[in-house]
Structure formats: structure tokens, C-alpha cells
Amino acid sequence: MNEEPENWSRLHPATLAIRALERLPELVLGLPAAAYFIGDTGIGIALLLAVVGLAASMLYAFVYWRRFTYWVGPEQLVIESGIVNRNRRTIPFDRIQDISLEQKLLARIFGVSIVRIETGSSGGDEGELDCVSRAEADHLRDRIRAYRAGSAEPTTSAAVPEAQESPPLYTMHFDRLIIAGLFNFSLVFLAILGGVWQYLGSYLPAEYLDPDRFIGDYRKQAVGLMSVMSVVSFAMLLLLVGVVTGLMRTIARDFGFRLSRTETGLRRQRGLFTRTDVVIPLRRVQAGIVSTGIIKRLFGWRALAVQSLGSDGSAGTHHEVAPLAKAEELTPVLDELSLPLPPPARDFVRVSPKLIWRSWTQDGLALGMAVLISSFFWNGWPLLLLAAPFLLIAPVLQYRAHGYCFGQDILFVRRGFWRPRVTILPLAKAQSATLVRGLTQQGFGLATLAIGTAGTSLASPLRILDLEEGTARRLLGEQMLLD
């Protein structure tokens, strides 16, 4: 390159402080382990090792920081990195699809932000600036946005719409956050507790955490106390833990949720500790997913997510754009996405009721096999039969919750009893369609229509289960407008 730029920038120095602080917890947790393995020779050596380790990793971080430079040109972003093997990457603004900012708690304290740049070519985010100051991040984003706006409409090039805060399409206030949290009942806390327990357990001498040490002496009394009351109170405690966990998780993730419109897409900001700021380009949106829950539905609450074309197959391409909203709040968001609100459930066409028989046949055969095989070596095999009532009911519920509906060049598919959801797919975004007939389905004259969409989400691939074969064929041919 001839035009060697002068004004190379470095990442924000606070990056180094963040790196150091991020390493600290490992150090603190690792110390007891080190002490344990070294034994009596002393905590001093353990400390020394830890300090040396920290210093080494900090030295590396410092050298890496020194050698990481970037330059924002008029039409491209250039990143040079690497300690020994230098790598120079040029990302033309034209190719930038997506810029998201992420601020973890430490980053917020230091007023810096991670900038992720996606060009939508191969895997993952192709450029990452970790971290730059918040002002620099905004500046970079505005610059790229202005360039793209300028290249789209050359007339309005000059004056940058400098962070012209458009009115939000959707926000979550605190009361809404609480309601969402209550619905997000979760027992993940217990799993984390278990994990911490194991983690500590592997560092501390075994007898410290041996439950028998605590329980052993009291076991007899404990068994005596194991009354109905204690079971009930335990269940209540679990419930409480679940509710509180759900609340905390929701507040941490969705605090200050704000969805607004930018020139090219939807911008979502959210998070209490880790603050993220993501732009979802409209033209990469493939489908909308309106979901609810069996209880949420009673209150008319819905969530809207979009399936967006990602550069890789990661789940990150499923973007929540409104976690909890009434239908009338969803309409403006859907309007921006050029997607219609799903029609009421009664407008959906049900699939063949033979779905129920097909499921019963398959599940019955599977259960029969399981019982037969386990009866050879397991006395408890009749327990398996407890599954039978569920297997009987589930297909009926599934059938009643499943259906499809065609709008103006749009396909709606609803599915799910516990978590009913409607996928809104513009037919122009259908990449392929496959009629699948398994063995049981062939017996019943049924076919499943699977529609390939770009990007992945909870609703991908989109399937309409167990249509009558003729209907499926007709949809494949005419309605899908594919043939």
C-alpha cells in the first residue's frame, strides 16, 4: 500500500487494566488450589508463582496492546495486529454489515466498549476492537453509518445525522421488567450453586465438604423430621429460588431495553452489567418469531424475535427485539420489519389429525421397545409405563397448537403447546422446500413440509408437520411459489 496512513490509533489503555482485573478472580480462586498442592512449603511460594504468572500474562497483554493498531480511513477500516506474525486486515465500509458494541461491567466503569464488526463473509465477527473508548466507538459507528448512508443516497451525504436519537420503537420500563422476570422462572441458580460446590470441592480437602460430616450425626433426627411439611416448605423454597433467579437474570439482561430505528436497521440496547448495543440490518432479517407461553398468553403478552442472516451458524442470529409486549406494541416493530402481525389462531389451517395417530404409533412402538429391552435386566421396567399418559396426551396438544396460514406472500406457522410461537416467513425468504415422508408417515399418507431459511433460530428449519400428502404436494408446488 502506498497510502500509508499517519494516524494509527491504539486501543484504549484501560484495556490493560481490564485484562488485569479479569485475571484476578482466577488468581484468587487458584491460590487455595496451589497451596493445597504445594503443601506445607508455604503459601509464600504459591503467592510468588501467582504473581509471576500474572506478570507474565500482563506483559503479554501489554506487548499485544502495543502491537495492535487500527486506522479508520475514508472508506475502510484497517487493523494491524500480532506480536510476531503481523497481520493487516482491511475491511471496506461497503462490506460491513453489522457493528455491535458491548460493554461488560468493567468496561462500563472505565467508559470503554468492545466494537465488533461483521462483514457477513465466512465465520464469526471479522474485526474486533477490544476495547476503545465509548466516544471513539460511537464515532466509528457514526462514520461507517454516514458513509453507508452517503453511498446509498449521494444527495444527503455531508451532514452526518450525529447520533440523532430516533424515538424508540419499544422500551421496557422497570415494571415491565419485573413482569418479564416473573415469567422467566428459572432454576438455573441451583445448577450454578452445584457447579460452584464442585469447583470449590475440587480445591479444598475432601473432608471439608463431605456432606456426611455434617449430616452423619444428625441423620436419624433428620429422617424423623422429614414430614410432609418439610417437603412442602422445600418446594416453596425452590419456587422462591426459581422466581428470584428469573427476576435477577431478566433484570441483568434486559435492563434499559431500548429498540430504535436506524437508517439501515433496528438498534437494540440492553443490559444492566453487560451493556450491549446491536444493530440488526433490516435487509438481513429473514423471519419473525412471535412467541408466548401458556400463562403469558392469558395476559396477552408476547415476545418478538427475528431470525437474521448470520455469518456463521451460531445462535447469535436469533435476536430478541421485544421480550414482553402486547400486540399493539409489536405492530410498530413489525411494520419496520415489513412483517404483518400473525392472524388470530382461528385463521390457521390445522394439519392432518392423523398427526395424533402417527405420533401414537411411533411413540407406542418406541415405548414398547424400551419396555421389552429393559424388562430383561431391570425390575423397575413398569415405571416406564408411567410415560404412557404423557405420550397419549402430548400429540393431541401438539396437534391443536399446530397450524399454518398463508398471507400476502407470507407464510405463518404456529406450533407449540407450552410455548406457542408463530413464525412469520416472507415466501421470498424461503431458500428451499422439502417434502419429507418417514416410514410411519408413508403408512398414514402424511408428509412433512420443511422449509429452509437462511440463518438459524429456534424456528429453523421451519416445519409443517404431518400434512396430508396431497395437501403437502399442493403447497410445495403452488403456494410456496417455488415450482
Partner: protein, 167 residues
């Protein structure tokens, strides 16, 4: 892709069958792929016979029977399940012996196209046409058993559709 090979199928649309030579390709693949399970069953047979006193010959017999079935019967059936139809806007490909699939890929959704030929395919003068779509499901759709000229012609036709779309 000559008219005389258009056959009426259970499906309402008339599908074009693959090159009959593809049957031989399927058969040779089955011969090669079957060697491993046959070897494993034979070893198991010998081991069980020596160590546990199982009657000799069960594993080998089973392996031989399955092998013959896979090599003699299955390739023909699988071959017959394959078919394709090139419509005005989309290609339709049917396949699958147990689970039957019929995939429709509109030409304007094709991202890029491969024509590939493995050593066995080369020996029999056939090729596989692979369509890549942007979908995460069906991201590649294979149509094997085309005469090499047919495959190249179809590739060019579909490519023409794509470039028209861009214009």
C-alpha cells in the same frame, strides 16, 4: 435426459430418472462401504466363538446376508427412488428409500453450483450436481448420477438464471 427415460412415478410430477450407469456406481459404493461391517461381524464371530463358545458362523452368515442384500437388492431400489424435474423456476429432486424426500430449490435461490466427479463416477461417466443455497437447512442439495454433459448443461442453465437475477 432423453424422453424415453421419463417415467411415471407415484408422485404426480413426471420425474427424470438418473443415468442407469449410476446404479453401478451405487453398487460399487455399497460393495466398498459394506466391507467394514462385514469384517467387524466376522471378527466378532470368531472372538465370540473362541472366548464364549458361541456357535460359529452366525456373525459371518449375518454379515454375508446383509452384504449381499446391500449390494444386490438395495442399489436398484435406491436408484429407482431418485429422480429430478427441471421446471421453469425451480428444480425438484426426489430421493430416499425409507425416508422419502422431495426437495424443491428455486433457481434464483442458488448461491453457487458444483459439478463433482469421484473416481467411481469418472469410471462410469457420471457426475454429481451440488446446489448450494443460503439456507441453514438444505444448505447443499446433491443430484448425483447425471451424465457429465447433462450436469454441465444444467449448471450453465442454472447459472444463467442466477446472473439474470442479478441484472
Amino acid at each position: 435426459m432423453t424422453e424415453d427415460r421419463k417415467i411415471e412415478r407415484v408422485e404426480e410430477i413426471r420425474m427424470t430418472a438418473l443415468e442407469p450407469r449410476q446404479k453401478a456406481v451405487l453398487r460399487i459404493r455399497a460393495m466398498l462401504a459394506g466391507l467394514v461391517p462385514v469384517a467387524m461381524l466376522s471378527v466378532a464371530d470368531v472372538v465370540l466363538n473362541r472366548e464364549l463358545g458361541f456357535p460359529f458362523g452366525w456373525g459371518i452368515g449375518l454379515g454375508a446376508a446383509l452384504y449381499l442384500f446391500a449390494v444386490i437388492v438395495l442399489p436398484g431400489r435406491r436408484y429407482r427412488r431418485w429422480g429430478y424435474h427441471t421446471g421453469k423456476r425451480a428444480i425438484r429432486i426426489a430421493s430416499g428409500l425409507l425416508v422419502r424426500r422431495e426437495t424443491v430449490v428455486p433457481y434464483d435461490r442458488v448461491q453457487h453450483i458444483d459439478v463433482s466427479r469421484g473416481p467411481i463416477e469418472r469410471a462410469f461417466g457420471v457426475a454429481t450436481l451440488t446446489l448450494h443455497t443460503a439456507g441453514s437447512y438444505n444448505s447443499t442439495v446433491d443430484l448425483p448420477g447425471l451424465a457429465i454433459d447433462d450436469a454441465n448443461r444444467m449448471r450453465d442453465d442454472i447459472r444463467a438464471h442466477i446472473s439474470q437475477d442479478l441484472a
